[in-house]
Subunit: 374 residues, 2 copies
């Protein structure tokens, strides 16, 4: 790698590019017991509730580990041991959610559509009407496998109408797409530090409906991932129950400050949309097309059909683009050869245009003629 | 806090003071899918096995989250669902281990001694001879509650003689005290990044006996904390199964490089021993005594009896010492009023002596007369 001493531009679904200011926050050691650190934790919890306008209804519980750890903690705690969860699947993260529910010995029913087909509110209406034993619905807001957007607001309304609990994996969308607890009914929304808030990876968080979480003592089969215990302990002591990733927490706080300074979710969505449009304008110039229809493609991570040329292979392509300073992401589809490009992180139009140029130079070097497989 | 812009000296059991070089490694973003990052993961795994001379018998599986997450992953994966674990307790971490075993629905038997009494090999011999249904023994090597050292080598020999599995929580001791897989038989030893290797907190690791781990598919009740799955996936792909804390991983690697450059475990033990002796020489000057007998006190975290003066209260004392740049740690005992001082981290005699001076000035400010409660 030629740029080993420079920060590469990460065009990935997270970890993503963080700002210098965010990284700099990690240059200090904090005592996890000290009041100054606990004040940072309290601020983060408040800021995350601000994003969903959730102070009256929800509480924020941060959790150590990757985003999946927080998803597991939410299910483990919010779904009773005799609960029954309907998991809506159109990609790898939906499948992962179904698997972890099953491993925790909760009953699970899956509803799967193709990777380019969103779940609809009609689907959920039909499924809930047909099976009264379903207690919870699990939805991936934006499925990172492809970047497909599922219609959260419509589905949430149906789930609430049937008086079931909704658990939203908003890992890829939180902070970029609007999720307002005053408009959308849900039991929990889950995301992580290293996504659209643009912090470093290492912690997740669950924004859970307080009146639901209050009744969840004793549900968890796991000590570490017991969201109820984590919440009660934090409320009582202001501290994390087990050692927090202190450097990550303070950097995440710094990233949240920048998020609000930029203008919050609407501003972030606007920048990512511009990133997406800059990217796709460039890809179109190169004859490359996106896998999903535009109306279901979130401006977060884009699946692009691989060049149709037989000389293309992802590994070589990836390494050449990387050596120019840009980290792409592999496709995750079985049915089509694709690669993915993230539009998120502390990057803007300039980085997106430079990435397009690096892709063009790479295709030229590889002698690949223009045009996607599709 | 008067020193808000300076790095405080953390005299805590972790998170602890890390070197500037270690923190600086966090100033770069890494793609978690990229070969350069995966090479760092591979190096860490090798380095950790080097520390226990375990390459022929053991494998290293890193895990996201705090140390407790790794302890839970080890138990969840290595103890079959019909297993029976004997947990040896003389402090809070032993109790925590017993609790998580129980929550995961494995049978647990506890053996508890007072917080200043190590478990002995004779105790374990008697307990294992009396109950053939015990499949595993859980031991806290150095119990952070007090800093007490349990006789690992002797206990390990007894457990091996009875052909049961030994799972060692070496959170506080790993890297500082010798644990050699060629001399001491065990199924798993567990520690974390933010302890005696002097990295930032945010990941743990399990060094597990390969021939044991190989047979553990399907034991885990948790997806995130499935050590077997994490291992198999990492072996196959060189990547972490779920998003790794990239900045923490590279900083931990940097800390490991410094660990070996310093001279490995013997050098680290020598420095910590010197820190401990400097601390206790100073505390003795101030009339303060340690809670544990010297022969069972590891030079890692020291429990000190609070001053006997009625004017002493920990909160005020703590804040005054903190404002001088030194973060102490509260006691965790119910039977005696104490505070704790960590001897670990990227600190040496100069910092320990300065800390003693800050304690002296604080006692003088508070008008506290010399002499511990004991």
């Amino acid at each position: 790698m030629s740029l080993v001493s420079r920060d590469p531009v990460l065009l990935t679904p997270g970890p993503l590019t963080t700002s210098l200011q965010t990284k700099s926050a990690m240059m200090r050691d904090w005592g996890s017991w000290d009041a100054s650190f606990n004040a940072v934790t309290a601020k983060i919890r408040k800021q995350l509730l601000d994003i969903i306008s959730g102070h009256e209804t929800h509480v924020c519980v941060p959790m150590q580990g990757s985003g999946t750890f927080s998803v597991e903690a939410a299910v483990n705690t919010l779904v009773p041991r005799n609960g029954h969860m309907l998991v809506l699947i159109n990609g790898a993260y939906g499948k992962r959610l179904a698997r972890l529910v099953e491993m925790m010995r909760r009953k699970v029913t899956v509803f799967e559509t193709a990777e380019d087909v969103p779940t609809t509110a009609q689907d959920v209406e039909r499924l809930l009407a047909a099976d009264k034993s379903i207690t919870h619905v699990g939805l991936i807001h934006c499925e990172t496998s492809t970047g497909i957007l599922n219609p959260l607001a419509d589905i949430a309304e149906v789930v609430a109408h049937h008086r079931r609990g909704l658990i939203i994996d908003a890992m890829s969308s939180f902070g970029a797409l609007e999720i307002n607890a005053q408009k959308i009914p849900f039991d929990a929304v889950i995301a992580a530090s290293g996504k659209c808030i643009e912090g470093p990876p290492g912690m997740g968080f669950v924004l859970a409906r307080k009146e639901v979480l209050e009744k969840c003592a004793g549900n968890s089969l796991s000590l570490s991932l017991d969201l109820y215990d984590q919440w009660v302990y934090m409320e009582k002591t202001t501290q994390w129950r087990f050692t927090p990733p202190t450097h990550i927490v303070v950097a995440f706080h710094e990233a949240l400050n920048q998020f609000f300074a930029e203008g919050g979710q609407p501003a972030r969505l606007a920048r990512y949309t511009q990133n997406y449009e800059t990217l796709m304008a460039g890809m179109t110039e190169l004859g490359l097309t996106q896998f999903l229809k535009r109306e279901i493609q979130a401006p977060i991570i884009v699946t692009i059909n691989a060049p149709a040329d037989a000389k293309y292979n992802f590994k070589d392509f990836y390494e050449r683009v990387r050596d120019k300073g840009f980290i792409l992401y592999p496709g995750k589809l079985t049915q089509a050869e694709t690669f993915r490009v993230g539009c998120i992180g502390a990057i803007g139009q300039a980085e997106m245009r430079s990435a397009v140029n690096a892709v063009r130079d790479t295709l030229d070097e590889m002698g690949i003629r223009r045009g996607s497989k599709d």
